[in-house]
């Protein structure tokens, strides 16, 4: 086991500090690469209203479908009602006839 003194560690760190890495070659053209990535990120994070516009055809189709379905249901309900009313009237006429009222 070797005890490394604080002084020895300081000298080692100072020597290491003196050997700075040379300028990275990656610094050349860095702005171009960064801006490409930034634009790519922007494309991926497009604002919600762009997605809302894309959803317009789907929403329109759903609205048309709902209107159509509710229209059909209303007309079916309407005919059932008139039938029920008419049926009820006929029945009361028959009852009046047989009871002599």
């Amino acid at each position: 086991m070797n005890n490394l003194s604080d002084d020895c560690l300081d000298r080692l760190l100072a020597k290491a500090r003196g050997d700075l890495r040379k300028d990275s070659l990656r610094e050349d053209g860095f702005e171009g690469r960064l801006m490409t990535r930034l634009r790519e990120n922007r494309r991926q994070e497009s604002p919600w209203y762009l997605w809302a516009w894309r959803a317009v055809p789907l929403l329109s189709a759903m609205i048309i479908m709902l209107v159509t379905v509710s229209g059909v249901q209303n007309s079916a309900l309407g005919s059932d009602l008139s039938h029920a009313l008419t049926g009820g009237y006929e029945e009361s006429v028959l009852v009046s006839y047989y009871t002599g009222e």
Partner: protein
């Protein structure tokens, strides 16, 4: 709407460029990048093991700067604000690497743990490799603090400002980091 055309000169001060960039002027942001990329590369190089990682980490730092530009209020110089983001991004990168202690293979170093002449016979480049190997074995927070203090030569106060830790915390962490680094270099880490 983002624009590549700018009415700002690259000689503008930082705050004008920030305003331009926030307003969607990409060339104002590019001017800021050109102005500070060397500083960011220098710091990021302390925490990365290859040119590819260095490029990636530097890009990550500038992307965070861009995302947070609106929050820059100009209370402190832009350079300080950017340095804080750079240090925190490097720290996050170190924490991600915590289970990945790949560093220079030991047999590639001109030194062995416990070598008694550790500082005498090593060249500056070899000393750097040994120190980077040793620092690579430390925990993320120890690695950050010892790099900022011993290699970047920041004061305790500056490190506190950069990391958001208290000065007492910085001192304690730096002391622990030095102790751990010594143990590693003495070869007693696993004894």
């Amino acid at each position: 709407m983002q624009s590549d055309k700018s009415s700002l000169s690259p000689d503008c001060d930082d705050e004008e460029l920030v305003k331009g960039a926030v307003g969607g002027d990409d060339s104002a942001f590019t001017a800021l990048v050109t102005r500070y990329k060397h500083r960011v590369f220098r710091l990021a190089a302390r925490f990365t093991r290859s040119e590819h990682e260095l490029d990636d980490l530097s890009q990550e730092i500038f992307l965070k700067v861009y995302e947070n530009l609106k929050q820059f209020r100009g209370d402190a110089p832009f350079e300080h604000w950017l340095s804080r983001i750079a240090v925190r991004t490097c720290y996050d990168a170190l924490r991600r690497q915590r289970h990945d202690k790949r560093t220079i293979p030991l047999d590639e170093l001109a030194w062995e743990p416990g070598d008694k002449r550790i500082d005498d016979r090593l060249s500056a480049a070899e000393a750097r490799s040994v120190v980077m190997w040793g620092i690579g074995q430390l925990k993320a927070e120890e690695r950050l603090v010892i790099t900022l203090m011993e290699l970047e030569e920041n004061s305790v106060k500056e490190i506190a400002g950069l990391t958001g830790w208290t000065e007492v915390n910085v001192k304690v962490r730096a002391w622990r980091a030095r102790k751990a680094l010594k143990r590693i270099l003495e070869g007693t880490e696993h004894e």
